[in-house]
Point group: C2
Chain length 450, copies 2
Amino acid sequence: MAERLVVIGGDAAGMTAATNARRGRSDLDIVVFEKGRYTSYSACGIPYLVGGAVESLDDLVVRTPQEFRDKHRIDARIDHEVMGVDLDRRTVEVRAIGQGRTITMGFDLLHIATGASPTRPDLPGIDAPWIRGVQTLTDAADLLERVERGDCGRVVVVGGGYVGLEMAEAFVDRKADVTLVERGRHPLGGVESEIGGRIVEVLRGYGVETHCGVEVTGFGDHVVHSSGGDLEADLVILGLGVTPNSALAADAGIATGVRGAITVDHRQRTSVDGVYSAGDCADTFHLVSRERVHIALGTVANKSGVVAGVNLGGGYATFPGVVGTAVTRVCEVEVARTGLDVGQARAVGIEVVVGTSNTTSRAGYFPGAEPVLCKVLAERGTGRVIGAQIVGADRVGKRIDTMATAITAGMRVADVVNLDLAYAPSITPMWDPVQSASRDALRRLDLPWA
Amino acid sequence: MAERLVVIGGDAAGMTAATNARRGRSDLDIVVFEKGRYTSYSACGIPYLVGGAVESLDDLVVRTPQEFRDKHRIDARIDHEVMGVDLDRRTVEVRAIGQGRTITMGFDLLHIATGASPTRPDLPGIDAPWIRGVQTLTDAADLLERVERGDCGRVVVVGGGYVGLEMAEAFVDRKADVTLVERGRHPLGGVESEIGGRIVEVLRGYGVETHCGVEVTGFGDHVVHSSGGDLEADLVILGLGVTPNSALAADAGIATGVRGAITVDHRQRTSVDGVYSAGDCADTFHLVSRERVHIALGTVANKSGVVAGVNLGGGYATFPGVVGTAVTRVCEVEVARTGLDVGQARAVGIEVVVGTSNTTSRAGYFPGAEPVLCKVLAERGTGRVIGAQIVGADRVGKRIDTMATAITAGMRVADVVNLDLAYAPSITPMWDPVQSASRDALRRLDLPWA
């Protein structure tokens, strides 16, 4: 009988693993169980679907179960929830949702890609149905229905992380009165306060009532209680980050660690032989802090899913890890970060100086040039680049990739200053913002030019 | 008496050297001779001034002689042309233009930043006044005057390099009938033909009559003779690249080399003690081909100028070199390249495979997503990144910086695939175009994932 790979979870980390395992082993019997209604979709696109920029839910679906079946001979079953894993008998217990039956299936290889769920803090009243997280396409469909019903006139977004900001904008686009409540001094925890401050300006300019330094304490009857007073709401969106869905793995005896995420090695192997994991439910390695971290992002899910799949298919692949890169757009302003922020650096004992540049997206004299604020963190002593952040309109977010690449390569700020980056006045100033901030860091480090 | 630094040339490489030398040595007597009417300006902005996107010539001037005098105690003299350098007597012979007098000035340190001039091939009739290069602000002023006179109804651009393309667009914006004549199979020599082909489409779509594979053979009375027939013209723009202005240095006995450029070392020192050079008149080191090259770009001029200045001021700085990065915009489409192209790689004995991606600027489903074509060249055997090229609208040109950084760091395509680059569907697809092309290169190399 053919060996069988069972994959739990049918989104990015599950399906890339399944297809890459198939590429390696045509003999393998591959079954995927997905508890939702969709496989392989772009969860990151949900705010734009809710806001109306993306027209149809189908636009977010990359591939359907039928396509996996036809093209890759992968048996992808939606509406199937895995309830338990028995590592001694090498079986999974699966509930066929809506069919009232449970099946038991054996496996030789197991891949856990159960993702993560919006964090729900233990606050009074939080389980009310008008308090929603945003993670799956099913969540998206529910929110869209609510928009169509007109049941979202007053929206409170709790937490100013990436998804929180994107959802705040989405509901302004739907003509809602939107209030953002952020516990910290500014949204987006991992950026310098000057950058966070610029985001607050953009949000307010777009019509989002933004309260920083305010803590939500509980929920009443369509009321959000907070340290800043009560806020009426038809709908609350939780933007407090996500928690890995690792209970299934932990219950089976698979090791978990940082923030409860499943512990994996650089080949995406868990603590149990023949059991792999990838994506939002698993941990990953941070190349700057040299610690295992939990970073729930589509990029990590896709890459780690490929690596798991290659290994499951009998090949050899490793995932080196991340440097903490993230980007989003708030209205037309893009904000991006990579590496460690000042607090994270301090936590792992790295002393940094921060270089700043206030320049423009194109040459200052060129029509369409927009202000750009950039920060570069360099290690005191060595000048090694530890992190960078950038904010501005005119599509500058991806300039952070230069710094993500520089950090991965272990470059110093002097190396960045000397990088041969692209220049034309219609496109960028002579010194790219990341180079200007690196020059400032260099001056503050009191290190020679090169 | 104070030691004196004489700088020949008052644009980027000259003035950055002067100001950085001042920073290092407050005692130094610094005199700059500039034969034109302007110091420190953005020559790269000239096409946009001629085209009307940039409103005033003054917008391109970064700093005036007065500012250098007041802020840095630098004696910057415009309309002063250095006619000769006597290295035995350590003097320069300077003509004060329009004043009918010549002065002789001694120096202790000399910095040569004489720039480059548009290449004028030895063709019959090429010295006619309606055949113009574009290099200095004085050229720009002359062209603007011609635009105002309406004396540019029919413009022929000879050569499809960066400046040629930008000038073609500029004159279309001025309602001229513009014809581009390019000897090669497509404009922009250093890109793959598929990318060059896309540029031809864009040019034609914008109204530039584009003739490739056509050689100009000479000029008659407002007629351009070519292998494809005669073309009538009120104005010819030469876009055939530039030739270093190194005659002054060579005549003095300073060593020149590649394409006639002044030979410098990594501290921008020439073959003569105490004599430095930087910018378009000097050569530089190519980090991939490991050869000395002549690359006339503002980025190189500024960086090498700073390095020269630090060293002239008694400090220590080195310029590591370039990787051949360049970008421009043709209408709304940006095209960029870095590293070696296939021909350049072959010339230095590097065998490459070419990976290709045809993706989008944002997630495919996101409004505003534009097609992006990307090429990545990897060395056969090692998988080392040798070059990359990208073309597309929606501001994708600067994505080449990721590859410029990766090449500088000696990364392989597998490293690029694993880079933690920024992703949000409103900004970029899950796999950045450079990663998709790197994945394709990886497949063609038949190398493992990582």
